[in-house]
Subunit: 311 residues, 2 copies
């Protein structure tokens, strides 16, 4: 993996993604005493950066493999991303989802013509069901975050951000399954001589923070956070990248996430999901450490029930 | 007034405004069977297009007049716009506002260092108080919508939109006091050979619709609409422009405004105020008439209490 690979990945996914805009706010700059550049992946197709990784993962498959389809387990944005990317490429997508997943998430997948296969609501049932689908259909399993091609695809967001603002000192990214921050870290390493990557993580799902401390992958006993996109765990493909390239992970409380989310809605006038507020909450909490710096923030997505907000 | 004047106005206000982005959504295009371009004035400084007109109105004054300040009556976006524009130009702004205006609106004006002068909550008290302030301070009165320089300033939004998308067939604008739609109509007349302007207006505050029917300015008996920015009345400066250049005004019901607002939040991932949803609601309601056309929509602002939504 090097700069050239990431450039090729970007060329390959370009027809399937938006080059999302970067927004700024004087009020927010004044508030944190730094220059902040928000990379708006909430404006990405299907509403989240996951479209990048999903598109790249399918494009990495041979035509023969594509003809048999792809399968993943997700009830979140990756389910929608894989369904939409597959639809656009004429590939069949099987989405393994817990029976009790919210109806609105099932409907979103159906809109993009993903085929939902229900399973019990636990990690073992989910993986068994995905294995079953693989066996029966010959579909290729694509993990939502622990997959090299997914990681590279997600890295194209930070790559675009650094193309637009090469002088960035830091990029803040949320940390969930680890795909986005690993891709972001690779992009920063390849496309900047000095830009460092910082993770924002909910205190209530701080496996990445603890993993960086201990040097091995730690797990969450529970994931009681409003940032539902960040309840997932690190994997063996993305953790080594995070360990090597990510400078720091900052943990934030639930109220800090909600406050940061509301601030972005009110000041930036954009709809973001709770997970997307986490890196900004991390910056707000530690703004003294980043005074007068140029800071990019990956706004990961905007898929939220606007009729049911935490404020 | 001609094309050159509007170009000069734009040059003059440029340092004080953002050139706002234009966003699109495939889902919305599919839904209305047309290509829709949203000019995002919710991303404008202080969160609404009003910044354009306010900046131009102050810039049109002599240095002597500027030294004595400006005064307006508004409890909405124009109060904030005039305060911020005046602050940036080192001019004093007096804002006449009803005693019972929401605290959040008063706070916003104070943030921008506008001086609030309270009055009773009726049009006569408001105008008397503004006249008082003029007499006592020598400040120049600037009407929020019925003022040529305000109208020209507001027209720069549509001018930018037509610079970016010269092939537009229609621009939809909300109709409140009439400043925005009059400016939009002038910009379309000067910068396009074929682009027509359509107004969206709440049925519950349909003075412009009825005025176009009767050919003279009609008034609203009541203004019971969620689109609080559109409760104001037409004036003698903007109505003749509207009469001459606006092709049609479409009225929408309250539920249609709320539905359109929610759709834009969910699909476009942007925070818009109810007034901004009105032109899109008008398009949705009459989409058969605009099939396969290229349509610009002025998204007028994003100042809304995100903790108190109608959905």
């Amino acid at each position: 993996m090097n700069k050239e690979t990431l450039l090729q990945v970007h060329e390959r996914v370009k027809p399937y993604i938006h080059r999302t805009p970067v927004l700024t706010s004087e009020l927010i700059n004044d508030m944190v005493q730094a220059q902040v550049y928000f990379k708006c992946e909430n404006f990405q197709k299907m509403g989240a950066f996951k479209m990048r990784g999903a598109a790249n993962a399918i494009l990495s498959l041979s035509n023969e493999k594509r003809s048999k389809g792809v399968v993943t387990h997700s009830s979140g944005n990756f389910a929608q991303a894989l369904s939409l990317a597959a639809k656009k490429m004429g590939v069949k997508a099987y989405i393994v989802m817990p029976k009790n997943a919210p109806q609105v998430k099932k409907e979103a997948v159906k809109t993009y013509e993903g085929e939902i296969i229900e399973c019990d609501s636990n990690p073992i049932a989910r993986e068994e069901m995905a294995a079953n689908v693989q066996k029966e259909t010959g579909a290729t399993f694509i993990h939502p975050s622990n997959d090299d091609n997914v990681i590279y695809g997600q890295g194209t967001a930070a790559m675009e951000l650094l193309e637009d603002y090469p002088e960035l000192d830091y990029i803040f990214s949320p940390v969930g399954g680890g795909g986005l921050i690993a891709g972001t870290a690779l992009a920063a390493a390849f496309f900047s001589s000095h830009c460092k990557v910082i993770g924002g993580e909910p205190k209530n799902a701080d496996d990445a923070y603890r993993s960086l401390q201990s040097g091995k992958i730690e797990f969450n006993e529970q994931v009681n956070t409003i940032a539902d996109g960040l309840r997932t765990f690190l994997g063996d493909r993305n953790f080594p990248i995070i360990k090597k390239y990510v400078e720091r992970i900052i943990r934030v409380e639930e109220e800090e996430i909600i406050e940061a989310m509301k601030l972005i809605w009110e000041r930036m006038k954009i709809v973001i999901e709770p997970s997307s507020a986490v890196p900004f909450a991390a910056l707000l909490k530690n703004k003294e450490d980043y005074k007068n710096k140029k800071i990019g923030i990956i706004v990961s997505g905007g898929n939220v029930d606007v009729g049911n907000l935490p404020f």
